[in-house]
Amino acid sequence: MTIGLPQYLVVSGVLLALGLFAIVTRKNAVAILMGVELVLNAGLLNLVAFSRFGGGLDGQVFALFGIVLAAAEAVVALAIVLQVFRARRSVDASKACELKE
């Protein structure tokens, strides 16, 4: 019943799979972004788990940078989604296929 590294890696792997599923199957651009957040969290969870069980704090520092970059990514991506919505009245990613109106 002891909790080791493999348990965390399984949780993170399932999180990654669910995020990929959302990215591949969603049409709504905001929902695709939610999938990206899931994938990022899976990766960061891996970093922290390896840092805990492999020794050293480097994994946690990298996870901190990852959180900051994920915040920047989310802000810019949502601003783009809002602009696409303003231009097309829809956030369907499979219809927004032109760079210019």
Binding site: V30, L38, I80
Partner: protein
């Protein structure tokens, strides 16, 4: 964490909470439900960080992800899904391929994860002071670069979200 059985039960409860919420994010047909499930997923990941004795990261996850990004996602959902009604707001396509991909990735991750040796758990000590030392010591250059990236993202997001309709402002 004295009793290993209680400790394991806490871990499995946290993991189940996180993964069920993530399942709602990936599968719910209502995008508002997806957004609130994302809230719960990020909360669960913060709990897993705390369980990994990464105390600073758990708090940062709560502040940045739960308090910031998921509120931002909720704003985006509310601003963009008003036209076609929430019940049909989160359509899916290519479901078969998505399911195959999900199962393949989950199986590969499971095989790879169970092949990893369990590792030695380091002692549960507070990490905040050590991370602060690392950020202003060995990692001072990435730290400064990240601050520039944040500034660029801030300016870029404001410029993008404000938009322009001909002419300049």
């Amino acid at each position: 964490m004295t009793d290993p059985i209680v400790s394991a039960m806490v871990f499995y409860a946290l993991a189940a909470f996180t993964l069920v919420a993530a399942g709602f994010v990936a599968l719910s047909g209502n995008i508002v439900h997806s957004a609130f499930a994302l809230f719960a997923t990020l909360f669960g990941v913060a709990g897993l960080y705390a369980y990994l004795s990464a105390d600073l990261l758990a708090v940062v996850q709560m502040l940045v992800y739960v308090g910031g990004i998921s509120v931002l996602v909720l704003f985006a959902v509310m601003l963009t899904s008003g036209l076609d009604g929430p019940l049909t707001s989160n359509p899916t396509f290519r479901l078969g391929g998505g399911i195959v991909l999900m199962l393949a990735v989950a199986a590969a991750a499971f095989v790879a994860a169970t092949a990893v040796p369990s590792g030695v758990e380091s002692a549960a000590v507070p990490t905040t002071a050590a991370i602060g030392d690392a950020l202003l010591g060995a990692y001072v250059l990435p730290f400064e670069v990240v601050s520039v990236v944040l500034l660029a993202a801030l300016v870029g997001a404001v410029t993008l979200a404000r938009g322009y309709k001909g002419g300049h402002r």
